[in-house]
């Protein structure tokens, strides 16, 4: 670094990083606040942990086994202990619970939101810093804890304005998968992963495609060949039977799967757990359109140890290629009883749900559900006479006092530049008081939004200047009320 000290540095962002602009900060804040309100209602307690932890305490528990070797950002402290920026909010929770176990209420419900960092290859929409919003229940083996997280997810999505029918929380159980792999005599980790990935591609390649991927391999439309898992026919059949069984009504699909895998102790247990969740959901008034038992869910199955959840938005958006596509997943989670084990040597039951905050934000934006989107900029009070800054500041302060977002123009430029500034700020109107107006105890209010509309209609320049469209004179006593009514009109 020191050799660069004399050169002027580039004001560039680190690779994979981004600045967040005002409208996104506001929208995000409002979204997080709504999520918080639902989590609070459910009795979850907020927690905040530091951005970095000792690397050995954090472990390397990235939940996605597709990318086991992807990295974290690490550095050493003065004792040469390694520190890492947290890559999720679960690993710090495990450290917190292990350190504070005796003092915690048990079960312990906590929620946490904040940025996490991954030292991965950045790409479009893929950043090295992003926000998560997690809820976890520690110390509850009961399926009621898992059911609650599904209800929490569904209630949160609705509270954010996503209508019933436009989302679904899908629930599966890792134990069913274990039973299936048992039946298919798939034993190695590598094979397990290939089977999972093949099932996950069902939507794209169809059941025949999955069959090919489990066998010799599959050639896609472009002619590219994907090598298969080379399973034997008698291994493939239970898997394709399973996939067929997962289609259709979920209560029935559990019966169908029981018929297929009932001999497996693991699968039976998984099915029983899903039935418990189903019963609790039903009693609590959550029907299948909101939370659906769906043994076809694959995501997360490798990582979790029991029930697995996925919150999906089912409305269609345009994909990059213009084709309509389901919005897809905005969060997921599941039961992970090994959470605290690496610290304490004992298994403590734990289940959690994590929202992908950026994805969810994009969804709300697409749906027009962000209040902040309709917000105007501040009212700008213009400076006509530099010696009267105090008077103008007083007008600004009176507007603020009445709850109107307002500012004094603080630059050095003339009237034209001030109008341009007000436009750029998205001001609903400007307040103008020259010497004439002051002597009459008046001010001018120019409605910029209305003015813009009118200027598209009036083409005669002279007429325009003469008519002062969308501009009114008001007595100073009426100024605040007049401004308020203009702002209200444009923010509705």
């Amino acid at each position: 670094m020191s050799d660069k000290r004399t050169a002027r540095p580039e004001p560039r962002l680190p690779k994979g990083m981004r600045d967040v602009d005002a409208s996104e900060v506001r929208g995000m804040e409002s979204m997080l606040s709504t999520i918080r309100s639902v989590y609070e209602l459910y009795g979850f307690e907020p927690l905040d942990t530091p951005a970095f932890e000792y690397s050995d305490a954090l472990g390397k528990f990235l939940p996605d086994s597709d990318r086991p070797n992807e990295g974290v950002f690490s550095f050493q402290d003065e004792d040469e202990d390694w520190l890492s920026l947290r890559y999720d909010l679960t690993a710090p929770l495990a450290r917190f619970v292990a350190a504070n176990y005796d003092g915690l209420p048990k079960p312990f419900r906590r929620y946490q939101t904040g940025p996490v960092w991954r030292n991965e290859k950045p790409g479009p929409g893929r950043f090295r810093q992003f926000t998560q919003f997690d809820a976890d229940t520690i110390g509850a083996a009961s399926m009621a804890a898992d059911a609650e997280l599904c209800m929490l997810a569904a209630d949160t999505l609705e509270k954010l304005g996503i209508p019933r029918g436009s989302y679904v929380v899908r629930v599966n159980n890792r134990k069913i998968l274990d039973g299936l792999l048992e039946a298919a005599e798939v034993t190695t980790g590598g094979e397990r992963l290939i089977v999972l990935r093949a099932i996950d591609k069902l939507d794209r390649v169809g059941i025949e495609g999955v069959e090919q991927l489990l066998g010799k391999g599959r050639k896609d439309e472009s002619g590219d060949f994907t090598k298969g898992a080379e399973l034997k026919k008698k291994q493939i059949t239970p898997i394709t039977d399973f996939i067929s069984a997962t289609a259709g009504e979920s209560a029935d699909s559990l019966n169908r799967i029981e018929a297929l895998l009932g001999n497996s102790e693991a699968a039976s247990k998984g099915i029983a757990e899903l039935r418990q969740i189903e019963a609790i959901l039903g009693a609590a008034g959550f029907d299948q359109t909101r939370v659906k038992i769906d043994p076809g869910v694959v995501r997360g199955l490798e990582y979790y140890t029991g029930p697995v959840f996925e919150a999906e938005l089912t409305f269609e958006v345009k994909a990059d290629d213009g084709a309509p596509t389901r919005f897809g997943s905005v969060g997921g989670g599941g039961r992970y009883d090994g959470l605290v084990e690496r610290f304490k040597g004992v298994r403590i039951p734990a289940t959690g749900f994590s929202i992908g905050v950026s994805r969810l934000f994009a969804a709300l934006k697409a749906l027009g559900k962000l209040d902040a989107q309709s917000q105007c900029g501040p009212v700008v009070v213009m400076v006509m006479d530099r010696d009267r800054l105090g008077d103008y500041q007083r007008i600004v302060q009176d507007l603020r006092g009445a709850g109107v977002r307002a500012e004094l123009y603080l630059g050095d430029s003339g009237l034209k530049a001030q109008m341009k500034y007000a436009d750029k700020r998205g001001a609903p109107c400007v307040v103008i008081q020259g010497e004439d107006e002051r002597q009459r105890g008046e001010a001018q209010i120019k409605d910029l939004i209305e003015g813009r509309k009118l200027s598209e209609e009036i083409t005669d320049n002279a007429k325009w200047r003469e008519g002062r469209p969308a501009q009114i004179s008001v007595k100073m006593d009426d100024l605040i009320a007049s401004v308020q009514s203009i702002v209200a009109r444009h923010e509705s």
Copy 2:
């Protein structure tokens, strides 16, 4: 790290780091939200920048020249470029403004809040991660921008519930100090710093003490000797004259200082700027009890280039030794026109104000101004019969639907442990429904807070059990309303 992999890791926090508990997260959230609302009202726009930046873009502009060599946390990316965790929110702002200058409205008002990190020696109340809340105005040379930040600080403190008279925003100007040091013929950076520090000690050592610190040195009550600046008598006199002049009414003190330093161009300019600020504040309705022109302020003078602000809480708290002491500073700032210069090579006027969020939070806590402090825990619905989890979950869900924070007991334990759990959660009441109650279409509500009070009065155990104090039976139709009234009673 790899040699430790088999050992069980310690669940410890990194040095200088802390977890933030539920009550603090909630209180902090509510405080930040109030601050945000005032900054929005003033027309400031939120911005969020990443946690780390390229080290060369961040620079090393720690505002405290007392600790110029204190460090930041740094690491290298895959291109071997150095990255550093931000140590404040000003350096990232400079990078942002330099990178986006042409597209920004000018002047540009922005606010930002978030954690910053310092690789400094931690101590009591001194952490390596802490939160700042900054407002800055870029591109405005006008003193109206500085006046506005002082008003913003004062309005924010009041909005947070700090009464008028319990805070003051003090304003000075670096240019006056420059004039003073000119008059005292103090030229080296080292001497400047010693003079600043000596003036800063006025409150503790009195004017004689300052005189000694500027001269040969000073022996304190314990006999410890502090070496002095070894200034000559004719150098010391202007400084002590200056200090005497800063006491008393501020309008007068500006006149007194003008009489002393009027020959200095720098000082005259600084005095003129303070008078402009004073005039704007006066016109905008901010009197001296809220924002006070005070040439005695020293903090930040070395770093800033024009006006300097300090927001101070004037009410008394007990110091560590039990003696009453002013709460002191909760934020500060000033004009720093060199902000963007290192990137762009041109000076762009800039002024800002930064809140020390933890200090301010401590103040609000001491004043009992945090709403979150009075909040109860969730209502706990107990599990009497494990087969009826769904019914209990339904009760919980109905309570939540009515806006009551509620949870189902999710553990495996019996009634006694469940009561203990509810106590630990701070529940205002529990809902109990055994088979008898269910058959009668009723539930029991036990008011835990009332119950605790009564148990202190009733000493006879048998009588206690018999009377079921603070416990009522209600029809299921009345359950929600009854719970709501108990919660309302305890949260008022």
